[in-house]
Symmetry: C2
Subunit: 321 residues, 2 copies
Amino acid sequence: MANYIPSTTLVERVRAGDMRAVSRLISRAEAGVAEARDALAEIYRATGRAHVVGITGVPGSGKSTLVGKITQRLRADGSKVGIVAVDPSSPYSGGAILGDRIRMSELGTDPGVYIRSMATHGATGGLARAAMDVVDILDVAGFDTVILETVGVGQDEVEIARASHTTIVVSAPGLGDEIQAIKAGMLEIADIHVVSKCDRSDAIRTLTDLKSMLVLGARGSGADWRVPVIGTSVVSGEGLDELVDAIRRHKRIAFDTEMGRLRQRQVAEFRLLKTAEAILAERFVQQRAQKTAEYTERLLTRRDDPYALASALIEDSLKTD
Amino acid sequence: MANYIPSTTLVERVRAGDMRAVSRLISRAEAGVAEARDALAEIYRATGRAHVVGITGVPGSGKSTLVGKITQRLRADGSKVGIVAVDPSSPYSGGAILGDRIRMSELGTDPGVYIRSMATHGATGGLARAAMDVVDILDVAGFDTVILETVGVGQDEVEIARASHTTIVVSAPGLGDEIQAIKAGMLEIADIHVVSKCDRSDAIRTLTDLKSMLVLGARGSGADWRVPVIGTSVVSGEGLDELVDAIRRHKRIAFDTEMGRLRQRQVAEFRLLKTAEAILAERFVQQRAQKTAEYTERLLTRRDDPYALASALIEDSLKTD
């Protein structure tokens, strides 16, 4: 393209807070464009200022609405807020739904708020890598808080929400058994628990259940931090100031304590390994094509078994490396 | 252990339908025990008789109850039915929930039915590999139908349900927006659509919406098969016979047509690549340990970037291979 701006040139503009450059570089990071690699390395080295807040919860727990309310409150002192929504996407509409919902709200016209949806469709191992690249770009572009929102329904999505300074897990009353089972899988990662929809009469039970589960599990707390359980209602406004206050208090933990440093080491290790996984998978995909059809046929005839053929496929891929 | 029975010995007993041997070999397959590899290869080569039915759907769609009802009907002619339930698991209870729910039902005491839960907790790439090994074991043990049930909430879970002869996707009325978005991601994989809870008044709309989405998408149908949309109710019994009839009709497609052969080639390729991924990930995990701590520190200081360090980590792992 005649007017293709090199990614390394975009970095300067991102640093200056140019939002068109931010959007362009994010698109390249999402697509995994090789040309953007040096730029993203440069971006990474300039990060470290933004407070990254991960938020996850079961479907229907009201995360997006809550993100909207948190953002309004964080904006009160002029802080800039970036929102990265990792969404389940529809193959028919082609779009992502959570980000759109936030975008259409009152936040959509506020220049101090930037909202980006990332669709999970098709992306597997690369999703975590891409989401963290996008967070970096917003950090370097001058956003004070970057909220990383995922629907907590797959291991990847839950892990992404944990790759932050402060993780909020949202529960809600009145959801079914299966939803509750999914929820149980993410309880241990919370720095802050929220029970949303506390205007409902059955919310008391959800709060009580959650508190007793936490007593059983008792993780995430340390000398510096006791995981709070906050009931909120976007209808009455209950608990919202308390939640924003908890986010601000936990920011100090994240940046100024040994517990925070330990957490950032875990996040760095997660990021390192996820990136390595994505690179390995990509290489493997590029190189396997030729033999795959042949080995698939051999598997279909049942002469050979999956483990033996998969091992042979790997050897073939690495040989040509 | 003094009374450890070699896995290759278990294979003979599995072939004879010895259910204790089946359970033992399944446990070893789930754990990924290296000693069981030859046995699983032998099992694989003996497969090909059972009709594998994948069933998935959003949380709360009533899949487990439906599986119970289908199983009762398939049992009417004496067919043996194996059920593999891939469940979200709770880190606190340590258990899986869907399988338990079926096990506690009337099916639990029927010797012609075998139920096995597999927990997703902790397992990532290896889950698909393990689930397919378990299906193989039940096939060789003489089960006529093997039902593979997953909660359709992650890419892995949806793909597993597709690794079958016949895939059923269950929708239900009255679920929220986020759930609907998740659902959209799995519509295209169905050979048979079910809308459960059709005793509810809002089910008509779910049926209508689904049918119009299918007109838009129009996948999965061919000259031999038109994807049916079946409304069911476990309360009134509506649609259950029709569903079982559709399953039986699709079995013929799966075993006797070019369309079925094409599908089995896709399943074989999926299996080959998932197994390769699992092997690669395992090797990488074993060999990276030493350098990971060092590289994590370098990442934390922001001297180096994730991509460069991850690439270096991979080179180190492959070198010692």
